[in-house]
Amino acid sequence: MDFLKNKLLTIVLVLCLAFTIFIGITAGNKGNTGIIQNILTTGVKPLQKTFYLAGQRISNIFQFVSSLARLKKENNELRKEVEELRLKLVDYDRFKRENEELNKLLNFKNSNKNLKLLGANVIAKVGGEWFDVLLIDVGSKDGVKRGQYVIAGNGFVGQVIEVNTNNSKVITILDEMANIPAKVSSTEDIGLLTGIKSINKDKQCKISMLPYDTKAKEGDLVVTTNIISEGESIIQDNILIGKITSIEEEKPSLTKVAYIKPEVDFQKLEKVMVIIK
């Protein structure tokens, strides 16, 4: 040890020189390989592998913990985006429904070119729970008269019962007071169309006073008829009201009553047309 101590500077210098030569040799060989390297690297390989895996696992834990804040932020952003998309979806559904309704109205108008139709928006449902009456945004100023029929798409909605300057009230076929003449399309049996009081969403109407021997059956179509006139109004016939779902005897008047599922979906009704001429 003392020898080393006395000659330490010399040894350090000699070693530095030797290592410099080593550097030169290994650089010339373009590789740091040899017996010492081989033994050392092989000897510590298992330990290195274990430590490397441990390091990676700890790193994964750190990454997981550090990603929590990011994930939370991302989650909030995504929630916001979902909310926005939901709102867009609501708008989309509304536009789609409106488009479908307008298409149906257009189809009806195209197939009944002799009719003059007036487009209107449903602006309210009046009469509370007692009546099924709609308020539309066209009135006498637009040429609407009492008794005119109102349609939506290919289906019959009801009849104008009150007309104001800028709006009108339409009694729908779901109202018990409707009393609109109608006929079974297949048998031409004429009856009186009225609504049925119900708290269900799937409201129905019925055509009563059908002859007792009527051949009408389930699935037959019910349409309007112009058998009677309403003052100056034109009553358009063959407007589809709905489909018969069942037929019963009507006691005690010896007639039959047919229950109808309306063609028009009154729950989603927004656009209608008034047949003014």
Partner: protein
């Protein structure tokens, strides 16, 4: 000799830690040369010969793993160890500032020797990028690590010294 062996074992452990564990951690901004910090600490705690042997063995092991050339780390560790053991007697090594300065000096010396050696053997390195992106972080990491390690090694050395002197 027991202290030398202990320090060599610690150095092997630190080398493995640095090459495997810290490499596996993949932490950004952690550019730590734990072995260099260890050599600085051992130079302050061991005498010249002990420190020289530890530095030489550590250098040889590190060089065995180094790519392309063999010997650079041995030169770095041996020369740093020799220099620091010479000056450590004239310094109050318990002061944290001394440890910080010595670590800064060690990193500078390491890069000077490395750049010099690579220049001689015509290995091209992006000097500016290393100075800008690596050296400051390495200095910082080494200082923090050395402060922790020095405390641990000092306790080990003192404990061994007391055991020997007081025979407990």
């Amino acid at each position: 000799m027991k202290r030398v062996l202990t320090f060599i074992l610690i150095s092997i452990f630190i080398i493995i830690m640095q090459q495997s564990f810290l490499a596996g951690l993949k932490l950004n901004l952690l550019v730590l040369d734990a072995t260099l910090a260890f050599i600085v600490c051992s130079s302050l705690l061991l005498d010249e010969v002990e420190s020289f042997i530890v530095a030489l063995v550590t250098g040889l092991i590190v060089d065995s793993f180094s790519p392309y050339v063999f010997g650079i780390n041995s030169i770095i560790y041996v020369s740093i160890s020799y220099l620091f053991t010479l000056i450590q007697k004239k310094l109050y090594k318990e002061r944290t500032l001394i440890l910080i300065l010595l670590n800064l000096l060690a990193v500078i010396l390491k890069y000077l020797i490395t750049f010099g050696s690579y220049f001689i053997v015509t290995i091209k390195l992006d000097l500016i990028k290393i100075i800008k992106d690596v050296i400051p972080f390495e200095m910082l990491s080494n200082i923090v690590f050395a402060m922790l390690l020095f405390d641990f090694l000092r306790r080990a050395v003192n404990s061994a010294f007391l055991q020997k002197e007081w025979k407990f």
